[in-house]
Amino acid sequence: MLSRVANRIYWMGRYLERAENMARLVNVNAHLLLDLPQRVAVGWRPLVEILGSEDLFETLHDEYDERSVVRFLIGEQKYPSSIISALAGARENARTVRDIIPREAWEQINELYLNARKQLQSAYGQRKRYDYLNSIILGNQQITGLLAGTMNHDVAYDFLRIGRNLERSDMTTRIIDVRSADLLPVEGDLSPFENIQWMSVLKSLTAYQMYRREVRLQVRRADVIAFLFRDQRFPRAVYHCLCTVADCLQQLPHNEDALRQVGHLQRMISDLKPEAIDQQQLHRLIDDYQHGVAELNGLIATSYFWTGARAEASH
């Protein structure tokens, strides 16, 4: 298969997943803010920080107020990870591989982008924001299902799943990071709210029900961390995503470097001790993990996409 086509499909998968998870990320913060008392409310700045996008944000806005951050994360065209930019990226990549993906998939992706853009204003007000974000999440779920059910499960499909799962694991760690220590002030007694907060993280990942089925205990920090990082059955858990990436890589030629890096990341996750790790250590681990994903992305690009000569197709 042509490298260009593989590259575009990989990024189509990543961008779609990024849009969905960005919607989840905004959702979790909104819920968190509703659950926390005013005196400990952290506002919206942490969201921009865990995405590592403060520099760009500050060139566009003076304050980290709700309105600015929400605009930035959802509708900012200059920010390549905003929902609108991610959907535009998915659409441009999908357009160039229209002969590889089923026609309906292209139509759905096109429509998701056009609708997201048309309804953008409704995302900025609080009242309709949840509906807007939910429609992004469901729209991507629909595309995922359509591709699973109608596209040949061939090499192209492997690249799609690699892109989707790498992006998903990265974003799952960012969503967990919203709840991470150095972002939340430890002043006063937060413990009454502890459970509520972890519950909102679970819910934003559509993980609450599955967590209850697996864990059957009340919502506890260590259990949630164990579940979201290490679970092998929940499809948004980091470890599960890595296993999927490894499975797909197994189907591809000269996969040694990329597989080695996946193994490295898998060990990083399975060595994690949920009971012992404090919030700062967790935050550092998440950082390390995200760097590891970036490295894996680079290895995949060198092995399959010839991106030395054509970096323009990626970010």
Partner: protein, 484 residues
């Protein structure tokens, strides 16, 4: 109400299906009789079926806009086919073979000894002025000595019924995918008429194309790697590029997918690594093909591709430089060119063409500007043309000045009254003007499509057949009444 041929009048023009008084031509009789049996709602039903088929099959041409993304417009199509008797078509086909054979000999000669110039048949100064002559190609010997592997020639018919060649497209002629898809649509819409095997099939074009391309391979291997090189999704003919690649089972590549390595061979970048390419069916103009040799700002080309071709490590179809034979001034010499190389008279006539570089012919042109069509040599798509009978006095004076200043750059032709064919308007048929573009393949053997792409001007009285300007198309039936 139904289609009543007695009411159908194409006065002043040759009609492809109907003679005077509503009587059908022999080859079209089975069609017109069948059509006149359809009731209004049946006609509309068939028309809707065609539109649906076009939508479902995804036959589109692309117009891109940043706002709405790419708009794939449905291909405008008329369900009444254009019919040509096989006996007549055989003559046209022979004429096309003769013509393209001579054109290839002419191109090869221009890049070698230029005998045609030394023998005084073709003026040297015209070659010096040609924007499509590539001096980089001098001395090249493409495989099988063929330069123009795929040619699309536009045919028109005048009111006396005579078929003329209007122009030859030797660079990147397009439209063949629509010819193939039109037939598929018709088989869905009017299946009854295909039951009698009068209508000659068209669908072996992709395999003929593939075999021809594969025969150019510089490597003797069982499965040469043939690729279709497209400028990309924003090109208006992208549908066709993707379609032909798919039909031939080839990779559709963009310039950045190909790389010329230190061994001067062409490779494509795949997830398995570099993979050797033998034949490139390029749908990119010469000037954008290789930034090392032609336009340096080309981002759709492949650096080193020309070098690989010069070394004989890859075949390019069509060969670079073959466009030298399709400018309007060369056109005027084609009957002489056929005579010179083949010792035969042209079987298919040119539209009579006056060359303004000849003093006597120029005098005639200047005296009759209001009756002639004047064309510059090196423009295409109807740019910079004067249509005398429809032009103002001032425009004629302006052209007289242009011709006097640069006579070699102009030719003039009488205005041809394009033939018509019945075309569905609501539930009845009206005459609309059309042309025909057959495609001619040249490799070890030659192949001519059975018929070609009929383009029709859907607007009443219009002779503009381009799809971007209100043109559509029809299926083209070569009908064998003698039974086989």
């Amino acid at each position: 109400m139904t289609i009543r041929w007695k009411d159908y009048k194409a006065s002043g023009f040759h009609d492809e299906l109907i003679r005077g008084g509503g009587r059908p031509r022999d080859a079209a009789r089975f069609l017109t009789r069948w059509l006149s049996q359809l009731k209004d709602d049946e006609i509309l039903e068939r028309k809707a079926a065609a539109e649906l088929a076009i939508q479902v099959m995804g036959i589109t041409f692309t117009v891109y806009s940043e706002e709405g993304g790419s708009i794939d417009r449905a291909w405008p199509f008329d369900i009444i086919p254009r019919v040509i008797a096989k006996q007549e078509w055989d003559g046209i086909e022979a004429g096309l073979r003769q013509r393209v054979q001579a054109l290839n000999l002419f191109i090869d000669d221009l890049y070698h000894d230029q005998k045609v110039i030394r023998d005084g048949v073709f003026p040297r100064e015209l070659l010096a002025d040609s924007v499509n002559f590539r001096k980089q190609c001098i001395g090249m010997n493409p495989p099988l000595g063929v330069w123009a592997h795929i040619c699309g020639s536009d045919l028109i018919r005048d009111k006396d019924g005579q078929v003329y060649v209007l122009e030859d497209n030797l660079r990147v002629p397009s439209g063949v995918s629509y010819m193939l898809e039109n037939r598929k649509v018709m088989k869905r819409v009017l299946p009854e008429l295909f039951e009698d095997a009068y209508i000659q099939p068209v669908d072996d074009y992709p395999s003929q194309l593939f075999d021809m391309l594969a025969s150019l391979s510089p490597r003797v291997v069982e499965h040469p790697e043939v690729v279709v090189l497209t400028p990309g999704i924003y090109n208006s003919a992208y549908f066709e590029h993707a379609y032909l690649a798919q039909q031939m089972g080839c990779e559709l590549v963009e310039g950045a997918d190909l790389v010329v390595d230190k061994d001067d061979c062409v490779y494509m970048r795949t997830v398995d690594g570099l993979s050797r390419v033998d034949v490139v069916y390029r749908r990119i103009d010469d000037l954008f093909l290789d930034p090392e040799v032609f336009r340096k700002d080309s981002i759709v080309g492949v650096p080193g591709l020309f070098r690989a071709w010069q070394k004989g490590n890859v075949a390019l179809a069509n060969a670079p430089g073959c466009g030298v034979a399709d400018d309007k001034v060369v056109y005027a010499y084609i009957p002489d060119i056929i005579k010179y190389y083949l010792g035969e008279d042209a079987l298919l006539p040119n539209v009579p063409t006056f060359r303004c570089n000849d003093p006597i012919q120029r005098k005639h042109v200047l005296a009759n500007l209001d009756k002639l069509v004047v064309k510059p040599a090196n423009e295409s798509g109807g740019y910079g043309m004067l249509i005398g009978p429809q032009a103002s006095k001032r425009a004629c004076q302006e052209f007289a000045r242009l011709i006097r200043n640069d006579p070699r750059n102009y030719v003039a032709q009488p205005l041809i009254a394009l033939s018509t064919a019945p075309t569905l308007v609501d539930t009845h048929a009206e005459p609309r003007h059309l042309d025909l573009r057959p495609f001619i393949l040249s490799g070890r053997d030659m192949y001519v499509t059975t018929g070609g792409l009929t383009r029709v001007a859907l607007r009443k009285g219009s002779t503009v057949v381009n799809s971007s300007q209100g043109g559509g198309s029809k299926d083209t039936w070569i009908v064998d009444l003698e039974g086989h």
